[in-house]
Amino acid sequence: MANSSNVFIRELKALNQAKEILEQTGDSDVVSKENFVELCTHYESLLGDTRVITNISDRLQNKLNRANDVLHERSEEIKTINDQLNEQNLVLQNTIDELTKTKLSRRAATITIIAAMLLFILSEGLLEPIIEEQARKADYHANWISFAFKGFIALLLKPIEYLIERYLQREAIRKKERQEAVQEIQQKTKTAR
């Protein structure tokens, strides 16, 4: 622990010297002029030091206070900028989320269209002849059965698109979580180094 009083060794020495002289004089009121002058010199010097050190100390304290005020101002500015950045970050994140959602919806729609085309080709090429043959045997109107079947496929398209979209969204969330986990591990590794 620092002890600032150590800087007054010279003054302490002078004080102890004066005390010794006092002890030596005993009950006598007479102290030699030489010793008194020496004590006055030391006292004058100490007073001068105290005056200067007090002035300097107060001035430097003021300097520190001003530096503290500037730091406080800067800290407030940084806090405000940080809040603004956080807000902008949130807006940006929302925009990115919306963009990702739109992108996934478009991809889901594309997949659904391809699936619809495949189902149409399947129904026209494979199922249609079977339906027609079965309808002829049973003496039914093949057109109505075919129409009902195609209508059923058409009705299925929207739920299929919804399911694909949900699946793609879940995958995107999982991918994002994996990336965040990797980043976190990388950051921890960097900090550990």
Partner: protein, 124 residues
């Protein structure tokens, strides 16, 4: 007599006491935890130097900030250098301060008022 060269840190100043050149310099920040431990070797060096000083001695104080106990140590250092004036050795003391740093300029003036040496205040 060995010279003293101490690199400055965040808490202690750069010190260069060169007896051959008669140049003593203290620069930077002086806020050591224990000022007397830091300044004691410098006091001892100056005590030795004033025994056989150069004809011309230059002392440079280029301080940015110092704590209260350091100001007492600077005072004591200057008091020791007062001996040079008593022995009629030319002593040039320069107290540098940054432009606009009135606190450091005033501190230089305070030292000047108390020490019987010509202290030149120099704006950087």
């Amino acid at each position: 007599m060995e010279n003293i060269v101490l690199e400055g840190t965040g808490r202690t100043p750069y010190v260069s006491f060169d007896s051959q050149a008669g140049k003593l310099e203290i620069s930077g920040r002086s806020i050591p935890e224990n000022s007397i431990t830091f300044y004691k070797p410098l006091f001892d060096w100056v005590d030795n130097y004033v025994q056989s000083p150069k004809d011309n001695t230059t002392v440079i104080f280029n301080l940015e900030y110092f704590n209260t106990s350091s100001s007492k140590c600077i005072l004591d250092l200057l008091r020791k250098l007062e001996t040079l004036k008593d022995t009629n050795n030319a002593t040039e003391i320069k107290w540098y301060f940054d432009e606009g740093d009135e606190d450091m300029e005033e501190s230089g003036n305070d030292f000047k008022s108390l020490i019987n040496l010509d202290i030149e205040l120099v704006m950087k």
